[in-house]
Amino acid sequence: MKEQTVRVAANSKQIIQAEEHIIEIVSDSGEGAQTAGQMFGTISAKAGNSVWTVEIIPAEIEPPPRTAPGASGNRIRIGSFEITNAGDDAKLVVAFNEQALMGGMSAGKFESGCIVLLESMWGKHPNPAIAREYAATMEKLKQTDYRIYEVPMEAECLKVVQDARRGKNMFVVGMLCNIYSRDLAYAYKEIENKFKAKKPAMIKPNIDLLDAGYRWAEENLDFRFEIPPCPQQGAQLVANGNTSLALGVIASGMEVCAMYPITPATSASHYLSQALYEAGGVVHQAEDEIAACGFAIGASYAGKTAVTITSGPGMALKTELMALSVMAEIPLVLVNVQRGGPSTGLPTKVEQGDLLSAIFGSPGDNPKVVMAPATIEDCFYCMITARKIAETFRTLVVVLSDANLATGQAAFPRPVPQKEWDAPPIDQSPVPKGALPYDWDPKTGLSKRFIPGQPGGMHTLTGLAHTRASGVAYDPEANQEGCVNRSLKLAAFQKTLKAPKVFGDPAGDLLIVGWGSTKGAIEEAVTRARKGGLKVSALHLTYLQPMASGIKEIMQQFKQVMTVEINYSDDPAHELIDENNRRYANLAWLLRARYLIDIDCWSNVYGQPIKPGEIEQMIRDRLSARKTH
């Protein structure tokens, strides 16, 4: 990406224009780097940039201070074009201490030539051990090509307020406003909005800190950036994926959300706990995920299709009830905001490792719909769609989001609420004489359910194999018949799906297939590779089960097909690994099994969003390797 000095200001400052920039702010937990990041993101969005922010979250509430794993903060990517992902390496880092900085550095998150603004107070710290640590880090930094600026943040803040620890983050926002040539009026407004309701007395000191940061940067830094605005239409909404999903729950007409806290899903329920209540619904925190799922199933059975929100370990606990919802054909929406790892794994990190367990994780044959939002905007709309599918097809719909969407924040067009999103009222009309609760249509497998309160519809629903009359089945035919019909329903739903659109040319050397939150990064990588003349395209799947017709035909137009996913797969280059034992990434397994095409995969489980640059590099390597064959 090209940066270009456009002019030199009177005070010999270089004014540099760039199409995009990535900023990281890192601090100890509790110092407000996250707030600063969010605020600067919002300010940038209001100033017209496209913005994607991601939280950097330590696993503990109060991790030990001044440590690399304890670093908390935010990554903010701002650009003049539509930003769909967290991007590549950072170009500017603000660090509240040198250890937090080292964390990101050793993870290789900073670009060569990256600008580092580092709190300098630690160098003269009364504790000699700390001062030594700082000096040692400075030595290491000198060996890099980073442009280091030591900033006396604490000292400068103390000129304006008495407790600098609480206000340093506003000083940082002030600096960033100067560095990125932001109009301070946006920042004043943000501070006002943040404090006016609950702590109006805090407005003035925060504005003072902001001004101080701005002034310090103006007087002491020899550069400034300009990221021109991105053409935008109309009103936008800035939210993270979990908030977007929570708003989608309200929009879908669902009134009951049953949950048990688990990272990174919980913030969706946090938001709903108040908002759904105000909409006349309820968030029920159950004693465990099993109870949460049972509660949701109960509410759905009684006519109020419910949602249960969890992450991988919670979904594992729900599997038995998921199968009940499938078996008894009770509509249910289950959201899994995936996190890293098997077992407790990486609670705050990104992974897409639950696709196969969502599809196959329950006992017996389990036809259900599995879909995945690809963007923060999708998180909103997919809840409306999921509720409708669940009711129309009397089925379980699993929605797979992930930590990347859950904690990423971006702007999308403000939705306009539509009455047609709403759930229908509970059917309480009398059931015609002789009608059966599982009167499966032989063509579609569909049947109309009876809801308590409907006169004449009395029956006992059961998770045992059952007859059309919902009696426990004692003959061998009934189980086969039930399985056939539940599977047919999925086929009937599949017929309503449209083939996904190819991103790029419809034919070429390489097709990258993705699902879920990787869409933005994959398409950005493909765009760059195509600009470099490579014949690569991308295909993104929203429905993972069932999959739309036409996917095979799309894949056949490419010489190579591979998936890019954030979940585990074996490295085929390892000496132990060959085609007899190689374990593929989740989607690659599914595609290989269904389409009998030799589909490759590229995936990893570092717990990070995949960077477009990494994908681009992988594409280049692969296509150049092919040429040399």
Binding site: K46, A235, L247, I250, Y277, G280, M458, T462
Partner: protein, 323 residues
């Protein structure tokens, strides 16, 4: 006398429901199974209360006892082993118009579903909960349950169970917000009916432990009570149960027990030489989760749209010149 007084008669278009009207499929329980008696008493209750069948739901887990809903002609939910209570709560949560009953075995309630048992008591939603306690896993054929008495030989305890039996009454009475706790034997139909009736009229979760014989695996479990009624202490009180003459004649050992006295209830539950029957505890003052969790706001589309718009305003941005 019936039908003469207009005020007492039922609406013209609403037929009077008889016992048969509440009977579902033909029971497949064994001859002599105590569950049959519980079913009979429950159908009698429904009939006497004239519960609208479409507004009544029986929720169960898995086990012999859990077949219960199939034998009622109401709505029923025969779910998963141990999970009846969360499902029943979910049903009741947004449907106060439904009468919700729960039938669980001792494995269902006191083993695999223990967490739900404790938390459902605490939530105190308006449910009638029957624990069919036969001291054994019946359906899976003779394995020890938490309530199996010490020393009983079962398929999984060929040398006899080692641990003392869990006491469902003391557990229940120890849980915050438990609001109605009763015990009765399935072989005393009048008492069973009376207890279920009181449980039905209680506002909150009524927990009824029903001592139930399994003719196959624990036929002698309650022999001491059957052969010697003096081993039973009947709990009577103006605020609790009043007992018919015949019952009173058989069960001479009685205690005038005020069901609001929690300490005495706990002592009674703890007795090792005698078994209390009747209402141990009742408290109507305890809040019910399905009621106290309501915002009082009607969940209309207009309301939802309003909530959405105001959230959109809060999260909204309009790229614009700074004001």
């Amino acid at each position: 006398m019936f039908g003469l007084n207009d005020n007492c008669s039922i609406d013209q278009d609403q037929e009077y429901l008889t016992l048969e009207d509440y009977q579902g499929r033909v029971s497949r329980w064994c001859a002599g199974c105590g569950d049959n008696g519980i079913l009979g008493a429950t159908q009698r209750l429904c009939r006497d209360e004239q519960l609208p069948r479409e507004k009544t739901v029986f929720v169960s887990g898995i086990g012999c006892a859990a077949r219960f809903p199939h034998y009622m002609n109401t709505y029923g939910f025969h779910g998963l082993h141990g999970r009846a209570l969360p499902i029943a709560q979910g049903i009741k949560m947004r449907r106060p118009d439904l009468h919700v009953f729960v039938n669980m075995g001792d494995g269902d309630c006191c083993s695999i579903g223990t967490a739900h048992w404790i938390h459902a008591l605490r939530a105190n939603m308006d449910l009638v909960v029957m624990l069919h306690d036969n001291g054994i896993y019946g359906l899976t054929k003779n394995q020890a349950s938490p309530t199996t008495p010490t020393g009983l030989k079962t398929n999984t305890t060929p040398r006899g169970t080692m641990l003392r039996a869990l006491n469902p009454l003391t557990v229940t009475l120890g849980v915050t917000n438990a609001s109605f706790v009763a015990q009765v034997g399935e072989w005393i139909p009048d008492l069973l009916f009376e207890v279920l009736k009181q449980a039905f009229h209680h506002k909150g979760l009524s927990f009824v432990r029903i001592l139930q014989r399994c003719p196959h695996f624990t036929p002698e479990l309650y022999n001491a009570l059957l052969t010697n009624p003096d081993n039973i202490v009947l709990l009577t009180h103006e605020k609790g149960m009043q007992i018919g003459e015949t019952t009173a004649k058989i069960y001479k050992r009685q205690e005038h027990h005020d069901p609001s006295d929690l300490n005495r209830a706990r002592e009674l539950a703890e007795m090792s030489d005698r078994v209390p029957m009747g209402i141990l505890y009742r408290n109507e003052e305890i809040g019910r989760y399905n009621e106290i969790s309501r915002s009082g706001i009607l969940p209309t589309w207009e309301r939802r749209a309003e909530v959405l718009e105001s959230a959109f305003d809060r999260f909204g941005i309009q790229a614009s010149a700074a004001e």
